[in-house]
Structures are given as C-alpha cells and as structure tokens.
C-alpha cells in the first residue's frame, strides 16, 4: 500500500514539475483523516498546521488517486467514499457504498475499490467510474483490513471476529482460501516482492507473517516492551517501507511504534508516540514517520534515521490514517 502511495505521489509531483504548475504540486505535506472533525487535517512535513479540508462524515482510511491530485477517503457515517481534490481543498465527488466503510484498497489499474463493509460482513468491489457495486464476497464478521495484490489477482480481507484472513480471487469473484491468524486481526502490509503478507493482531500483541505462496503463517512476531504486559500492546496500523527492509507497526495502547527488520522478523527498537498510536504514514523521501494517536488527538513525527520522536503536534479529533505526498 505504502509502495503504491509513494509511487503515485512521486509521479504526480514529477508531472506537476514538468508542467511548471508548481501550485499543483503541494510538496511534502501530511494528510490526516480526523474522524470527529469530518475533515482531513493538512500539515506541513514539520507538523505546522495548514488547513482542514471538509469531507464526508467520519473519514477514516485514505488512498491517493488520479496521479496524486485527489484523495479517496472512506467515510463511516456517510456510507460513501469521498473524492477529495487537494488543490481545490474540498470534496468534489463521492462513491456511495454499503453501511459504514472503513478500510479499502484499489486495484492496480485504479478502476476498482475493494471495501470492507463491517455491518454486512462482506467485501464489496465497486467500479469507481460508474459508482456501481460489481460484486460482493461474504467474509467473517467485522471485516476490516483490505489489501489488493499488485498483480490485481487477489484481495485479502481480515475478519476481526473470526480471527482469520480471507483470500478472494478477483477473476472468480469468490473466496478461495482462509488463513487463521491471531486474535482480532486488523491491517495488512505486503512486502514489495509479494512473498510475505503481514497482519497485525490487536489482541495478540503480534503480527502474523503469512507466506503468500503456501498461504500459511510462517512466523508470528510478538511485541514486548519492558514494563508492559501483553494486554497493553495492541498493534493496528502498519506499513512496510518501499525498499522492503523495514516495517513500522503502531502498538496501540502501548503508545509506542515499533521498527521491525523485515528480513529477520525482529524488532529493532520501539519509540514512544502518543496515546493509542494507531495509523502510520511515511514521508515520500522515507526520512520521517508520522504516527496518528487516536486518544491524544495528535500526530507524532519520528526521525527515521535516528529512531527518535522529533515532536508531537495536534491533529484534529480522533485522527485515524496518515498519508503524505
């Protein structure tokens, strides 16, 4: 996911620079969805507040689209995915969905949105151009994380209640497999080579690492923090860097973010963030990590090289996800 985001952002700004329309290229900004403000909070990369962009209600997960000109944002209380134009500073269109969308993924061609629909226990694919549902696949109760593979063939969906990952075949429009993982699985990250699918388990203080070829859990990465109990560590947000070397995992109630070595599946260090560290985003140059803290309504900016939190700045009310350009 992060790989796609970074890629599209770079291409967008490159295009803007070629056209010499520098105003179009809002370089190095951070976008945070704020669930209770019904807005995307826009910050400079150093955390300085720029503006709020009003959106549909209860905005959560976000993705870049249209070569980085627009943000798609899932709005849980509006039953739609809003299309936010960054330059215009407003929501310009919306894709109606079933009740309460939270997380979604885009097909590699950008034409289809795969959305987890919690209330209906299904994953629904929408054709973005026609705004029509194309197909739905039943999942376990409370589906959450969604990830589409770069080859466009598969979509993975977590089910929080059934503690499993559903594997959906896009061409066949059906579930072709299920992998049991830890308790209350939430979000995904895929290694750039596609070999490993990582899943955060909120109630197991762990990440399940799935071998995508064999569709089995090859390793369970447990998080431990000195002075904390397993129950205090609830991993949710996660990303893997474009070079495939590092994973960043927000540890929820533990108020820390973990830096993990992807090759060896070991934690390099944990860094203190805010209260209930949740969503994570990386700057396009990879130098800074942004951690949305859902209970302290702020954003912690981490210097990746030194592994230190630089500062924490206000970021709306119940910040959910972070993306950058």
């Amino acid at each position: 996911m992060q790989f796609m985001t970074t890629y599209s952002t770079l291409s967008r700004c490159a295009a803007a620079l070629i056209l010499a329309a520098s105003a179009q290229c809002t370089w190095a900004e951070v976008f945070v969805s704020s669930e209770k403000d019904n807005a995307i909070v826009v910050l400079h990369n150093d955390g300085t507040f720029i503006k709020n962009i009003p959106t549909c209600k209860r905005p959560r997960h976000m993705q870049w689209v249209n070569a980085g000109q627009q943000i798609m944002v899932a709005c849980g209380n509006s039953d739609q995915i809003g299309m936010v134009d960054v330059a215009a500073g407003k929501q310009v269109d919306a894709l109606p969905t079933s009740e309460s969308p939270e997380i979604f993924a885009l097909s590699p061609d950008g034409k289809t949105a795969y959305v987890s629909i919690e209330e209906a226990s299904q994953m629904t694919a929408y054709d973005i151009a026609s705004k029509k549902p194309v197909f739905s696949v039943k999942t376990g109760a409370e589906p959450e994380g969604v990830l589409a593979t770069p080859d466009g063939k598969l979509v993975y969906v977590t089910s929080e209640v059934t503690n499993s990952v559903h594997i959906v075949d896009v061409a066949g429009r059906k579930q072709i497999g299920m992998v049991k993982v830890g308790k209350r699985p939430r979000r995904f990250a895929l290694t750039p080579n596609g070999a490993e699918l990582w899943v955060t388990n909120e109630l197991s203080a762990s990440v399940s690492i799935i071998n995508t070829a064999s569709r089995t859990v090859k390793h369970t990465l447990m998080f431990e923090i000195a002075g904390m109990r397993k129950n205090d560590i609830s991993p949710v947000g996660m990303l893997i860097t474009p070079d495939g070397k590092t994973a960043w995992v927000a540890l929820g109630r533990a108020n820390h973010v973990a830096e993990v070595d992807v090759a060896t599946h070991t934690v390099r260090k944990v860094i203190l963030a805010g209260k209930r560290a949740w969503g994570v985003g990386l700057s396009s140059d990879g130098s800074r990590l942004y951690v949305a803290n859902g209970l302290s309504d702020d954003l912690t900016i981490v210097d990746v090289a030194s592994g230190k939190a630089l500062k924490t700045v206000p970021a709306g009310r119940v910040p959910h996800s972070v993306i950058t350009n």
Partner: protein, 396 residues
C-alpha cells in the same frame, strides 16, 4: 397462559430436536439456555420500568448472534453449535438433569437466580459427564466463592467487581465522602456487605448510612424523602443500593445538595452499554438492535460472551472434547475478545471472566474501570473482584 405457552414451546423444541439430522455433522454441540418459567424479571410491567442494569428480555437472541459470528470457522472444522431453549420451573433438579440429558446438552447458559444455581451445583455431583455451565445472569458473589463449582464459568461480572469498579472510579476523582442509602430488601443487605467492603478497599468513607423505604406516608418521611435522606453530613456523593431499582431511579437531581448519585441509580457500573463506541462495540450493539429493536443490556452481552467463549475455545482446538474445552476455558488459556478493548480470559480460581466495567448513566459511558493508574502485580483486570489470594472458592 404463560405456562400453557411454555409447554407448547417445549413440545415444539422436542419436535425440532427429533427432526434434526444430527448424524450429518461430525460434532454438533447443543447449547441449552435454561430460564425460569414465569420469571418475574420478564413480566411485562417490570420490563417496562427499564431499570438500569436489569435485563430487558430473555437472552436467546444474543446467544444466537455469537453462534452466527463464528459459524463458518467452526463449520470448516466440522463443528456446529445448536441453540435450544428450556424454561424450567426452578424446583426439581432431577427433572432438569433428565431434560439436559434428553436434549444432549453439553453447554448450559443459566439465566437462573442464586438458589436455583446452587441447587444445580449440588445436583451435578450425581452425574458423570456434566456440561460446561455459563452463568449469564446472576452477579451474586457466593457462586464464585463459598458455593463455587469447577464447571461454572461466569460471564456476567460479580457484584464485587461492579462495586470495586465504582469505588476505584470515586477514589480516582477523590470523591471519597459517601452518604450510603440502603433499601429494605434482604438482597439490599447482601449488596451492602459487598459495597462496604469495596468502600474500605479503596479508601472511601461512609459519612452516614441510612435505610430508605418507598412510601408516601408522612410518618415515614425520614426514610422516604430524598431531601431528608441526603441533607447532611457533608459528602461528595450519594451512593444508593437498591436491588429493586425504583427508589434509585428517582434519586438523581432530587437530592438535597447538588451531588452525584452512584450505585443502583445515577452513575451505575455495568458489563455493557450501547453508548460505548470503541473496539467494535457499536457493531455488536447494532447487530443486536436490528434483530430485537432493543438496546443490548449487560445480561445480553453476558449471554453473547458465553457462547463466544465456547465457540472461541472450539475454534482454537477443533478436535477437543468437552473436558478439554472446559479446561482450556477455566484455566484462563483461551484468549477472548469481548469488544471491550483488551483480551479477556477466565480466572482459574473461580471461573469468573475478568473484564473491564463501564461506568454509565442514562445517556453515556463516563469511563471504564480499572481506572488509569490502578496497579496490580500481574493483571490490572484482577483489581476488580476477588483476586487469587483472597478467593474463597475451594472447588477449583
């Protein structure tokens, strides 16, 4: 009429049981909800009063929701859960055991009062393979202490857990001076013993204790008039213990001084409240509301949690037998998701599900206990209720 209807229901279930193609499934687990025939808690007038903390109806729908949640997982491993309903007259445990046997029930959800549960515990000594029992409706601590049983698992919090939660909450705000009002019922005295212990445990002080009565009689006004009951001495909160709920419901904003009411009215400790909006809780509350047109109550949550606990243990170990499942649950090895944000498990020493408690009033959840800053050497949730060293449960 009620007896006639329940008789019909029983016959209907008997027929349904006959028609079930039981042998098709590798393992079909029968879950039997045991309620009390003509249960006074479910009389129409009682339900209409909607006292906070009381059940709002029988617990079957919530149990079915839990079955549906994990149905696909269990089915893949050849397991299936079936829900049956029984309304017992509450008298003959021999008859109840025969009925349990006839229906091949391996799991019981007890929607029964203290005395009936105690009687069933004694009757269990007579049978060789006893079912796993979930107590989903009785908070009395006796079932977890002097009268405990190794087959019992309690998903509803004990009264002491609720009292501890409230005492922690008050201590954390430094609202320590309490006027205690206790009702006239024998159950109110039982509540008093539990709550007084929590008050001591967390360093609160009872500045005055008074007995209240429900009466309009001017000769009894000292005990029935909220203003006279709460005028002095100086205090931070009025704590009311009322097993019926009518007096407590009318007390907030009718006190002599502007002080919060806590306990059985005002701010009340609960296992569940539909205003809680984190950790997937709203989805569960919505599922329940769609099916029943009612708000999910603590007892519904306890029923859902009981089935969910059993289903989770079975999902973890699809080939396990009943004894192994009981061991996994009762030893605390099964990690459970109660949509309260933390992983839950049963306490090995008394079978109580450790869990956070909501501090709720009519419209909202003010917060959750254990409160921030409370410490425990092993498990914060064990600051609520009887901890291992102090447990009086001998039959573990």
């Amino acid at each position: 009429m009620a007896a006639c209807r329940s008789g019909f229901v029983r016959r209907l279930f008997a027929w349904v049981a006959l028609l079930l193609p039981v042998s098709v499934w590798a393992a079909s687990w029968q879950i039997l909800v045991v309620g009390l025939r003509d249960d006074p808690r479910y009389e129409r007038k009682t339900l209409e009063q909607a006292f906070i903390g009381k059940p709002t109806g029988r617990p079957l729908v919530a149990a079915q929701i839990a079955i549906d949640e994990l149905k696909d997982n269990l089915q893949d491993a050849g397991n299936q859960l079936k829900l049956q309903d029984l309304q017992w007259d509450g008298k003959s445990t021999t008859e109840l055991l025969a009925e349990i046997n006839k229906r091949k029930a391996q799991v019981l959800l007890l929607d029964l009062p203290l005395e009936q549960q105690k009687a069933l515990m004694e009757a269990f000594a007579k049978i060789s393979t006893a079912p796993i029992v979930f107590n989903i409706s009785e908070s009395n601590d006796t079932l977890r202490s002097t009268s405990c049983h190794p087959h019992w698992l309690h998903t509803l919090p004990s009264e002491r857990m609720l009292a501890d939660a409230m005492a922690q909450w008050l201590a954390a705000r430094n609202w320590r001076d309490v006027i205690l009002l206790v009702g006239p019922e024998p159950q109110d005295q039982a509540l008093r013993a539990i709550w007084i212990a929590s008050i001591k445990r967390f360093g609160l002080k009872v500045k005055a204790e008074r007995k209240f009565v429900l009466s309009g009689d001017p000769r009894q006004r000292e005990a029935s008039n909220p203003k006279l009951l709460t005028a002095e001495p100086a205090h931070d909160v009025v704590m009311v213990l009322d097993s019926v709920g009518e007096f407590a419901k009318g007390l907030p904003f009718n006190t002599a001084l502007p002080r919060p009411v806590v306990g059985s009215g005002g701010l009340v400790p609960l296992a569940w409240h539909t205003s809680w909006e984190r950790y997937g809780a709203p989805q569960l509350s919505h599922r329940f509301q769609k099916l029943t047109n009612k708000q999910m109550a603590s007892q519904d949550w306890a029923s859902w949690m009981a089935v969910k606990s059993f289903a989770t243990a079975l999902d973890d170990e699809p080939k396990a037998n009943l004894a192994q499942l009981l061991h996994k649950l009762r030893s605390g090895q099964t990690t459970l998701d109660g949509f309260k944000g933390t992983a839950l498990s049963f306490r090995p020493w008394d079978g109580q599900l450790r869990q956070g408690i909501f501090m709720a009033h009519g419209q909202a959840v003010a917060g959750m206990a254990p409160v921030e800053g409370v410490l425990h050497p092993k498990e914060i949730l064990d600051t609520l209720g009887a901890d291992e060293p102090e447990s009086l449960c001998k039959r573990r």
